[in-house]
């Protein structure tokens, strides 16, 4: 266990994560989440699909981040980024992922300056996908790939949960109870051991894709995604 992991997963890390609801805002707007039970079902499904994919990519990025500079060159980061691209069908979600990745990398290069982060930022001028940035920053901060995966799994549900508290006026304690109940599932998701990048999980969440594309076209939005 690494104290840097706590900093990295903390919503107070000034990297703009609080501006994203991960589809929760649109789900609330259309009535797909109305109450605590609806939120719990949303978060469980999100963790088992998008959360699993993002955790696996973060672990792969962390492993790449700790490898010797010669092995973690621009082409390898670009190749891993293409694996992320192939797993995110929705352009709105790809954009949200790159926006979050770009902000996380910008912030983290000041907190944990490292040539690894410089290489990653240089490799992907449009912004690295969020799990890549998260994994690379985790590596630089001294976290293990499993810890990077856990941070990714954790943030895949805590952001939407916090958003739902604000949007529906849910009891924050009850929502944290839901998150605590998800803790074993987060650990399970983070423990998935990938063999190669091609075989990394690619679990789709078609409803999240639809929510993201509707959300980006909505007139009134509190959250970026």
């Amino acid at each position: 266990m690494n104290a840097a992991l706590l900093l990295l997963a903390d919503s107070r890390l000034p990297a703009g994560g609080h501006g994203h609801s991960g589809g929760a805002e649109e789900a609330v707007r259309i009535g797909a989440i109305r109450d605590l039970a609806g939120l719990a079902a949303f978060l469980r499904g999100r963790l088992a699909t998008a959360g699993l994919v993002t955790a696996a990519l973060a672990a792969a990025a962390c492993r790449l981040g700790v490898s010797p500079p010669a092995a973690a060159d621009v082409s390898e980061w670009t190749r891993l980024d293409a694996e992320a691209d192939a797993r995110i069908s929705s352009p709105a979600q790809r954009e949200a992922s790159r926006t979050q990745g770009r902000l996380l990398l910008r912030t983290s290069r000041r907190i944990w300056p490292s040539p690894v982060l410089d290489t990653l930022a240089g490799a992907l001028s449009q912004g690295a996908h969020h799990p890549l940035a998260l994994g690379a920053v985790a590596a630089v901060a001294g976290c293990s790939p499993a810890e990077a995966a856990l941070a990714a799994a954790y943030t895949s549900v805590t952001g939407p949960a916090t958003a739902a508290v604000r949007l529906l006026g849910l009891d924050p304690v009850a929502v944290h109870r839901v998150l605590a109940d998800l803790a074993p599932a987060m650990e399970k998701v983070a423990a998935t051991v990938p063999t190669g990048w091609e075989a990394l999980p690619a679990h789709a969440s078609p409803a999240l894709d639809l929510l993201a594309e509707h959300h980006i076209r909505a007139d009134m939005r509190l959250f970026v995604s």
């Binding site: 499904g45 694996e83 797993r87 409803a207 639809l210």
Partner: protein, 238 residues
């Protein structure tokens, strides 16, 4: 039951597509129904748990192939809860075109099914690939299914997509299928200029040079209609 079926095309001297290989592997039985068109005819129930079925498709450079099926595929449980497996591999060569649009896969109660698709496209190959999964027959709770689709274009990953059905964490989640009982998608080469979204369907330009039409539906008819709306909106054809 273990079965292997294969289709391969070849370009004849006049530049027309000829079916060079048509090897049925019952229950995967193939019928040529038109020039460059093959229908899958299931000649046995299933797949049943324990079955290991595979179809290999090779579309030679400059040829065109359409694959259809005469009926939906009903996946049934087998003895001792064994898993059934359906593997489809397809390679589409330079300047070649493949349209793969079988009828839906229906997951009967108690089934345990795995679907694996590997699609390898040359850079200028064209593809139209439809996948539809129906969660049980009318009023039936589905068994379990895990599908994995991997499309690679010119050696670069284009789309990797897995669907899991029958998992308590995923079924009914408003993040995954909501109250839908069917999920489907159509992968088409060529990038739509922008995303389009409708009731239960979306046209999603991928990062690579292709478009995914994605849809959810309460039943197979609604799913097909929504995929059709998406194809129309995204590619101007259906």
């Amino acid at each position: 039951m273990r079965a292997r079926a294969a289709i391969a095309t070849r370009r004849d001297a006049a530049g027309r597509t000829v079916l060079a290989t048509m090897r049925s592997g019952p229950p995967l039985t193939l019928r040529a129904t038109a020039p460059g068109r093959v229908h899958l005819v299931s000649t046995a129930a299933g797949p049943l748990g324990g079955d290991d079925l595979a179809l290999d498709i090779e579309v030679a450079p400059g040829t065109e192939l359409e694959v259809r099926s005469v009926a939906s595929t009903l996946v049934l449980p087998g003895p001792a809860g064994a898993e059934s497996l359906m593997t489809i591999t397809a390679r589409v060569g330079a300047g070649a075109s493949l349209s793969f649009a079988p009828e839906p896969t229906v997951l009967a109660a108690g089934c345990l099914h795995r679907m694996v698709v590997r699609l390898d496209l040359a850079e200028d190959a064209r593809v139209h690939w439809r996948e539809e999964i129906v969660f049980g027959r009318y009023g039936e709770r589905p068994g379990r299914c895990h599908s994995r689709f991997d499309a690679v274009l010119g050696g670069v990953p284009l789309l990797r997509q897995e669907f899991v059905v029958g998992d308590a964490e995923i079924d009914g989640s408003p993040a995954v299928y909501g109250d839908a009982r069917c999920v489907g998608s159509v992968l088409v080469t060529g990038r739509a200029p922008e995303a389009v979204v409708g009731q239960g369907w979306a046209v999603l330009p991928l990062a690579g040079p292709a478009t995914l039409v994605s849809a959810l539906g309460r039943d197979a008819v609604e799913l097909r209609r929504r995929l059709g709306h998406g194809e129309e909106a995204g590619t101007g054809r259906r």
